[in-house]
Symmetry: C2
Subunit: 243 residues, 2 copies
DNA sequence: AAAAATTTATTTGTCTGACATTTAAAAGTC
DNA sequence: GACTTTTAAATGTCAGACAAATAAATTTTT
């Protein structure tokens, strides 16, 4: 963690990379304090603003946190699952919205991953998670619910399903897949009729999870995927020839 | 995209968030040029260094790219799958290394996700992807191979399997799960005997994929997961009582 | 002596102003 | 018209300063 040749890229990017490497390699450990900005400036032979730009890059990735005052400074941050969730969701959302990923492709990925959680969830889901699902199903059945609120509740339901697997790594990985789909789902205007069908399948899933019946959960998820894709297909058709 | 009250946090973080929101919401579109740093400084009523810190935060997340010169500036970046991969891998790796995630938990998540890809891959894998898998199996059988090289080849093999599903969203999601496991896998010193078994299972997977036999692929993945977890368990045992 | 108030030192956050470097377009030259 | 030179605009970097927060050290008060 020292070199900065006069090569091509920004100094602040190079410095950020050097520190990032030190963190990833374990050379810098969690909660360890980095040298002060002035000291870093001396070490890397650059000015303080340049060091600061480097530190802000790292802060944006939640790799460090900073604290003001006498005993303050920049500290290596323990990347929490919560932080990782948010980053993952932002990244996934942008990836989908900027790359003309078809609804079918995104949908296929999402349900493939979710079905991977289903057997574990059938085995381990807690009473609390079941209660969350029931509550969301109840909310989804309210007549006055906006499309946005319905979709948000849908996300919460599936989130509970995934968390039921009791594996934080899985929950983290799925966060992106499930949440990033919401903007795409919002584009489908749900009729009362289609909501009914979705609620029916959600109930089937909740029932099967309660009975620890992995096969029925899987079947219901397949049904839900098929139904969702058909809905999206119909909406696309209707837009093509609105007559 | 305008407000910055004198509230709590850093100005540069607030400005970065304001611009980030504008990008996520679609207010700023791909390849659109942001105002120059001086103009942003005027708009937000802060100095240029503060604006620059905000821009570096966004650059660290690949949300913008900057270009020098007369027609230069900061542009909204199209987040590529490649960029998303790298970020995902860095984040996942740190998440696992910093949070005392057990090998079992990570392994369970990884194979659950990989098994989700298997049916699609059995259906769609290309000849090219099959060839990659065969080549990696061949490499894994070389006697002089270091543990690191063996693990890297292992990653490449599974990467080809995942890519076989022909769904870029799945590949992106899996990148983190598969690659982030490598440091953990490296900690298991493979004996010649265990390599043999892994290569046997890899061959079984490749054969089944070639025959488009999804069930056998799944069975082999389950075998591989079981075997890997037992290996890790044994290593842990041996470390506890090295006598 | 203990507690409270004050001072002090350190560190990050922010500002001002300047210069260097890169780049594309405009102006000039042959 | 093709080539070269100039120019303007933008980011990259630097230096030095002050503000604000914070904890430790010091002083004062009780």
């Amino acid at each position: 963690m020292k070199i900065d040749p006069q090569k091509s890229t920004d100094l602040s990017a190079q410095i950020a990379q050097a520190i990032r490497d030190a963190i990833v390699s374990g050379e810098l450990i969690v909660d360890e304090r980095l040298p002060s900005e002035s000291e870093l400036a001396d070490q890397f032979q650059v000015s303080r603003p340049t060091v600061r730009e480097a530190l802000k890059r790292l802060a944006a990735q939640s790799l460090i946190r900073t604290q003001r005052g006498a005993t303050g400074g920049a500290f290596v941050n323990r990347l929490s699952f919560q932080d990782a969730y948010s980053q993952q969701i932002t990244t996934s959302t942008l990836l989908l919205s900027m790359n003309e990923v078809s609804f079918d492709t995104a949908c296929e990925a999402r349900y493939a991953l979710e079905r991977a959680c289903a057997p574990l969830s059938a085995q381990r889901r807690t009473a609390d998670q079941l209660a969350t699902m029931r509550a969301e199903i109840f909310r989804q059945a309210q007549p006055g619910l906006t499309d946005e609120a319905f979709c948000a509740s849908d996300v919460a339901f599936h989130r509970a399903l995934v968390d039921g697997a009791g594996n934080p790594v899985l929950s983290y990985q799925l966060a992106g897949a499930v949440e990033a789909m919401q903007p795409l789902m919002n584009m489908i205007t749900f009729t009362a009729r289609s909501r009914e069908e979705i609620i029916r399948l959600h109930s089937k899933i909740a029932d099967a999870l309660e009975a620890q019946d992995a096969e029925t959960v899987d079947a219901a998820l397949v049904e839900l995927e098929t139904y969702t894709r058909r809905l999206a297909h119909d909406v696309a058709e209707r837009r093509r020839k609105p007559a």
